[in-house]
């Protein structure tokens, strides 16, 4: 059997991390192809439901990333997001979801190299954890995770 390739969904903000990931590309830095970036206006826009939906659709890991504190394009979106993550992460842990599958990060538009490192290390960590079978078992009978790429 082929080696397990983790499927990782990255929810990133338009202004910092998405631009940072662009910089990774324009700097010709190679990194793991396991990540699918979803661009949102701001980390403040990242509803916790989106993270749950990513897992329901077959993600093995999720990255949530945006501007560093103090750098938000909308002044405070990332501060609000941070509060939400603090509680949401705690709640996931409390109901027994492995929180190692969700990585929160700040990656600025200038941190192309940090983005590559982040994706590479998360990919390796998720590879070690294996497929998120626990969550996949929750899917209703006959419903398969979405196959992307």
């Amino acid at each position: 059997m082929a080696e397990f390739e983790p499927k990782i969904i990255a929810f990133v903000c338009n202004w910092c991390t998405y631009a940072g990931a662009d910089l990774t590309g324009t700097s010709r830095i190679k990194y793991a192809t396991n990540v699918r970036a979803i661009r949102l206006p701001c980390t403040g826009r990242i509803d916790f439901m989106l993270i749950l939906k990513a897992f329901a659709q077959g993600a093995d890991g999720v990255i949530v990333s945006g501007c560093h504190p103090g750098d938000c394009h909308y002044t405070a979106g990332n501060y609000h997001a941070r509060r939400r993550w603090i509680l949401f992460r705690k709640l996931l842990d409390y109901v027994g979801i492995d929180v190692r599958r969700i990585t929160f990060s700040w990656v600025s538009a200038a941190e192309g190299a940090k983005w590559a490192d982040l994706v590479n290390s998360v990919t390796e960590e998720i590879r070690k954890l294996g497929p998120f079978e626990e969550y996949r078992k929750l899917l209703p009978l006959g419903q398969e995770p979405v196959e992307v790429m």
Partner: protein, 268 residues
């Protein structure tokens, strides 16, 4: 009990309120139900005992109840906090409700306005009780796999009846996220995925707003200890952000305010 009836009668006779939301005997002596007393004669039906656990503040926002006129509501600690939290969220204005606070020793106090409710609660500890802390700690002591198994077993019984939502005075959205079907955020059928998602959504939407009345768990027909989710989040909101729901009419919802130096240890 007589004291409560007298206060209710007085409020109705003087026309201070048009309806008293209280408890009456249920189908058996061990059950209580909500009653909407609109005349002085009916106040004889009011009771108060250990079975009166429902958070009656849930009725304050119902259009059918609002149509009856200005209400007085019989309230123990959680319902008192509910009134303040609803006011903080702009759902109740001062002067719209009279509260008949019943203390643990049975003493009834008439609270005519919201500042009076705030004052009444000012000396009361709103932190989790030792017993509540213990319930949460029991879950946290488990390994992650045990917690997952525990909650999966609990959620497997969920029928998606939404009694928890109906019982909750803070779940007043005219259009709840689970009723949204474009996109369908939470699957309708009571299967494992939808059940988990529903209970996580419910807990998150109540984080920083829940007043720990625990009536969600009591209303649950299959006995899911839903209050364990919200209790843990209440404790976290207090510990992380120093906020307590239902302590005052001041609007300070934990997830709509922030501090630039909020502490966390997991963001890379």
């Amino acid at each position: 009990m007589e004291e409560l009836r007298n206060k209710a009668r007085e409020l109705l006779e003087t026309g201070t309120v048009q309806v008293v939301i209280g408890y009456a005997r249920g189908s058996t002596a061990e059950k209580a139900r909500a009653v909407f007393v609109c005349s002085a004669q009916q106040t004889q039906g009011l009771i108060f005992n250990e079975y009166c656990t429902q958070n009656l503040a849930v009725y304050l926002l119902k259009p059918e109840v609002k149509a009856l006129g200005k209400p007085a509501v019989v309230a123990r600690l959680p319902a008192l906090r509910t009134v303040l939290q609803l006011a903080a969220e702009g759902q109740i204005a001062d002067g719209q409700v009279v509260v008949l606070a019943v203390a643990d020793d049975g003493k009834v106090t008439e609270l005519a306005d919201l500042p009076a409710v705030e004052k009444y609660l000012s000396g009361v500890s709103l932190a989790l009780s030792a017993q509540q802390e213990e319930l949460v700690a029991r879950i946290e002591k488990m390994s992650r796999e045990q917690r997952w198994a525990f909650w999966q077993e609990q959620f497997a019984r969920c029928l998606k009846c939404y009694a928890c939502r109906a019982a909750c005075p803070m779940c007043y959205c005219a259009r709840c996220v689970v009723d949204v079907n474009q996109p369908q955020w939470v699957p309708v059928a009571p299967h494992a995925l939808g059940n988990l998602e529903w209970h996580l959504v419910r807990a998150m939407h109540l984080a920083g707003r829940c007043v720990n009345c625990g009536y969600c768990a009591e209303a649950c027909p299959v006995g899911i200890p839903l209050n364990l989710l919200t209790l843990m989040l209440s404790r976290e909101v207090a510990a992380e952000f120093g906020l307590t729901a239902g302590a005052s009419t001041k609007k300070e919802y934990a997830l709509s305010v922030y501090k630039p130096d909020d502490k966390e240890g997991f963001i890379r």
